[in-house]
């Protein structure tokens, strides 16, 4: 707790941490560190969290031997929050987000998303879960270059049979309007600025009304001003839609708008702050 307190003090002085009480137990993320010696998951109401990780390890085999990206991660993320995952390059941010999003599996441990155990799911069920409940925003937007802005947003919705064509178009135009790109819906991604591309990626992630959005360094390729604008858009969408957004960044300056911060170093949770 000492280290956590000093971290808070430092951040509070720069107005990045705004509502944490010095003696309060952090509630937005529960990690093995802050619940040391306790059964962290058992102490949370089951419905309260959208993502739960327990003793998650991720090791990659490389030419030079095994490389551990995540070590003993235990956490629970409540619904509706905007969470920043921070840490230097190689700290395990992307690995953590990949595991939360079900596009990677831990070498050890358990992952639950909306009380569903990802470890027991087959590839098809994981795909369905991602399609319906999770939105992704990648570092460089990763839009399909041959599709227009509107088509990029529409593409994942095509595979949701419960959404009619009319409804699909309506969702696309609504979300594009919300991110301020309604007038650019016919444009190809290469004609957009970096910030606009990330807004399209955000629109694509949100169009299907997911339970949560994972954004892996969404501002890394943007200048500070544009990055802040994108994050502010994420913040307002998070507030409007009560959608949980978890974004990673290596820039401590971009933690300010988050409800909570999870700091990683060498694959471990170094600190978490609400």
């Amino acid at each position: 707790m000492t280290k956590l307190s000093s971290f808070r003090d430092k951040r509070c002085s720069s107005k990045l941490i705004c509502h944490a009480d010095e003696n309060a137990v952090p509630t937005f993320v529960h990690t093995s560190r802050n619940l040391s010696g306790h059964d962290s998951v058992a102490r949370l109401p089951r419905d309260d969290s959208i993502i739960r990780l327990e003793d998650v390890h991720r090791t990659f085999g490389t030419d030079r031997g095994a490389c551990t990206a995540l070590r003993a991660i235990t956490l629970a993320i409540p619904r509706g929050d905007l969470i920043a995952v921070v840490g230097p390059s190689g700290s395990g941010k992307t690995s953590l987000l990949n595991i939360m999003g079900g596009i990677d599996k831990p070498s050890r441990g358990s992952v639950r998303v909306e009380n569903q155990d990802l470890m027991t799911m087959g590839e098809a069920r994981l795909s369905d879960l991602r399609l319906r409940r999770i939105g992704f925003v990648f570092q460089d937007a990763r839009l399909i270059p041959v599709l227009t802005v509107a088509e990029n947003v529409e593409l994942p919705l095509l595979f949701r049979s419960e959404i009619s064509s009319v409804e699909r178009k309506r969702k696309v135009s609504r979300v594009l309007e919300r991110v301020g790109l309604a007038d650019k819906h016919e444009r190809r991604p290469e004609t957009l600025s970096g910030g606009e591309r990330q807004r399209v990626a955000l629109a694509r992630a949100l169009a299907g009304e997911p339970a949560f959005v994972l954004a892996d360094e969404p501002t890394a390729n943007l200048d500070q001003e544009t990055g802040v604008a994108v994050l502010e858009l994420m913040r307002s969408l998070n507030r409007e839609r009560s959608v949980t957004i978890i974004y990673s960044t290596h820039d401590p300056q971009l933690m300010a708008i988050a409800d909570g911060v999870l700091k990683l170093r060498d694959g471990r949770i170094e600190e978490n702050v609400a």
Binding site: I103, F136, I144
Partner: protein
């Protein structure tokens, strides 16, 4: 158009140079299949027309049992003149029949200038024969006509054995049914080349009247028919068989493809070769475009992993990539078909000079037959080869872990 198909189409033309290379490979393979098949079928057609219009006609009608046993007892299977006329009346009434004629085959010796040369005689109706001999080349003299009842035509090889030339007088000798030796004097009116060496070496065409006089017998051995369109032969045969059955006629029929054994063997041999060439060209197309399609898919590995991360199932990715391959295959095959047909028409207009085919005595000017079935098979093979070429890279793309692929990007 659905966004999915539209995406597949746009992906195809994302890298235009590579797409053009793939389309060129598919089109070239498809055109090669059409041209190869067209050339082979043109040769088949030439051999078929040789067999029909030099020797066998389209259909032959005999007394029942002839095909099985006429060599043992030829006299037993002859039709009398009245029966033959009745059958000719029936067949000539059919609008699909172009010509019908009577024939009588026999053997004997030719005496010329003190030399005896054996021959196989074919008694033919002189006015009908030219139509039945359209593929016969007249090497010297003139064709038979009813105005010259003693004018005969010798095959090229037989004429050489006789050292004969048009205008020469020949004596034909044979045994009659009663065992007596009979002879007639005839004049060599023309020398023909029928295309099959064995036929030309032994055959002497004799006016039917002269043959009857020589054999002292006016019975007919076979009635030979020419059908207006070769493809109608099975229908015409079925019609006549039905009529003959109804009339309880004591006759049987054979079609040209049952009689032309040489044609059958050649078609069997070249048909097998054609299948092997199809396989080889299909494999070349597959290998040629496999690399291009593989590169195109592997280059987009990160994009495909992104789509999978967004929730598209592996089968949707497979469907997208297969759709791209299918569209590439369809476009390439369509270009190849058009190219193959166009080149085939140009080559046919110019003509390909061929040496004599196996067993034949005549070189011929061939072309490329544009056969709808061959075009369809070439189209299908090209599309299937394109789809097959995509299987391995697609398999690799959907099996690669999403997270590590995204990390590479």
């Amino acid at each position: 158009m659905s966004l999915f198909v539209s995406l597949a189409l746009r992906n195809i033309f994302r890298n235009r140079v590579r797409t053009y290379i793939a389309l060129l490979a598919i089109a070239a393979g498809c055109a090669a299949l059409i041209l190869n098949g067209g050339i082979v079928f043109n040769i088949f057609g030439e051999l078929r027309e040789d067999a029909i219009h030099s020797r066998h006609g389209h259909l032959q009608i005999y007394r029942r049992g002839y095909s099985e046993a006429h060599l043992e007892d030829p006299q037993r299977y002859l039709m009398d003149a009245q029966e033959a006329q009745h059958i000719l009346g029936i067949v000539r009434a059919n609008p699909r029949i172009l010509r019908a004629t009577s024939r009588r085959e026999f053997s004997g010796m030719i005496l010329k200038g003190g030399r005896y040369v054996p021959f196989l005689g074919v008694g033919v109706e002189p006015d009908q024969d030219p139509e039945f001999s359209r593929h016969t080349t007249l090497r010297a003299g003139s064709v038979m006509s009813s105005s010259n009842p003693n004018g005969v035509m010798a095959g090229l090889g037989l004429a050489r054995k006789l050292d004969g030339k048009p205008g020469d007088e020949l004596t034909l000798m044979t045994m009659t049914e009663s065992g007596a030796l009979n002879a007639v004097h005839v004049r060599l009116q023309g020398i023909f080349e029928g295309g099959l060496k064995e036929y030309d070496d032994w055959t002497l065409k004799v006016p039917l009247g002269a043959a009857e006089h020589l054999l002292m017998d006016n019975r007919i051995e076979q009635i030979v028919l020419l059908v207006r369109h070769t493809q109608d032969v099975p229908v015409v045969r079925a019609e006549f068989e039905s009529v003959f059955q109804r009339e309880s006629s004591n006759v049987e029929m054979r079609s040209w493809d049952q009689l032309a054994l040489f044609h059958k063997q050649v078609v069997g041999l070249f048909g097998r070769e054609l299948s092997i060439i199809r396989l080889i060209i299909g494999t070349i197309v597959l290998l040629g475009i496999g690399n291009v399609i593989g590169m195109s898919i592997m280059e987009r590995a990160v994009e495909l992993a992104t789509l999978r991360a967004l929730g598209l199932r592996a089968r949707a990715i497979v469907a997208l990539l297969m759709m791209e391959s299918l569209l590439t295959g369809l476009i390439g095959a369509a270009i190849g078909s058009a190219l193959g047909i166009a080149v085939g028409r140009v080559v046919s207009a110019i003509g390909i000079p061929y040496p004599s085919p196996p067993g034949s005595t005549r070189p011929f000017l061939g072309g490329v037959d544009v056969i709808p079935n061959i075009v369809a098979a070439a189209f299908l093979i090209s599309v299937l080869a394109t789809l097959a070429a995509a299987v391995f890279p697609i398999r690799k793309a959907i099996r690669s872990p999403i997270a590590s692929t995204l990390r590479r990007g």
